[in-house]
Symmetry: C2
Subunit: 204 residues, 2 copies
């Protein structure tokens, strides 16, 4: 594989997904840190060379760039045991990855960012007006995961896949956004299984 | 392929993506309509049998179900010319599909739903407080697409892929949410190319 560079902010769960995928696959990956709180991913240089969308993570593969955390994970894991061989299971894995970006991350991750990184006192009026809805939607996402995991060890099929990695990243630090994981016992047990995977690395 | 049933609300762009993918592939697909404005996807029966997340579209494959529009499209198109064979391009296609669900749909589609379906007068205070930000984020997504398409005919590689289908669905009706597509000439030209694809079907 070509040289891999992860353009990241290491406290970001989205960035951690890519690093965890590389670690579980045993792929060496260089890391380049940007401080998103200082706008380092909105500079003209970053927008022109790395990602016109001004966001991290971006996976650099040689001289090419893949934004969007779950797409970067897919690039790394394509053809590996982290992507199911079965057609239905492969689509079902993507189903959970899209669920993660649509129902989970904008609530569970955003609550963590607002509370633990920005600080509630510094939120705008419009942001404060969304807290109640985001907390409810985050709890709903965690409840749905808990119900699904009550009957099976992994999100899809008989082994860990990218669906687990994508959902693990922000779930395992959901307490930082005010979510109580003790309410979700199947999720808590699954977090332990992911953390026990050979090659696992912690966030940060 | 097993029997395919699309559980849908036919005015939804997310549902249209799945139907358009099936049409471009020449796959017959049955349609089952639910009125989301009447809560027909939140009934105990729907939650138990079709999608615990209470959302459409859901693609039924035999007796199994795939929620999430882009995952359903991937299931249908896996192994076809709508998914690039090249590893980088395949991940790049998913990059645009995740961009669609994170940066485009929550803004461009939600504005359409709020203005054309719910009606501005019936929005909650919290929703009204988000309109300005959603309009700006929707314009930013369209501007990013326009910049990308100014230099190439399709989002990824040399032909139409699921990335184009995913982004076409809500872009071609963005005017219903108050977005002026005349400001995005490369997007407008690309909309015409998608609509000219053999097998194309209109929304509805």
């Amino acid at each position: 594989m070509e040289r891999l560079v992860l353009h990241e902010y290491s406290a970001s769960g989205n960035c951690y997904k890519v690093r965890l995928t590389a670690a579980l696959l045993g792929l060496p990956i260089e890391r380049r840190e940007y401080d998103i709180l200082k706008g380092e991913t909105r500079t003209p240089e970053f927008l022109a060379a790395v990602n016109a969308n001004g966001r991290i993570p971006v996976l650099q593969v040689g001289e090419r760039f893949i934004p969007e955390s779950n797409a970067a994970c897919f690039y790394l894991a394509d053809g590996s045991a982290l992507v199911p061989e079965d057609r239905f299971e492969r689509a079902d894995m993507l189903r959970w990855m899209f669920f993660e970006q649509y129902n989970h991350e904008p609530n569970v991750a955003t609550m963590r960012f607002w509370i633990a990184f920005v600080g509630e006192a510094r939120l705008s009026e419009a942001q404060r007006g969304q807290i109640e809805a985001k907390r409810a939607a985050g709890e709903a996402a965690l409840a749905l995961m808990d119900e699904h995991l009550a009957a099976r060890p992994w999100f899809v099929g008989a082994r860990l896949s990218l669906a687990d990695i994508a959902l693990y990243a922000y779930t395992h630090v959901a307490d930082e956004g005010g979510f109580d994981l003790a309410r979700y016992p199947a999720v808590s047990a699954w977090l332990g299984r992911v953390a026990a995977a050979p090659g696992y690395v912690a966030m940060g």
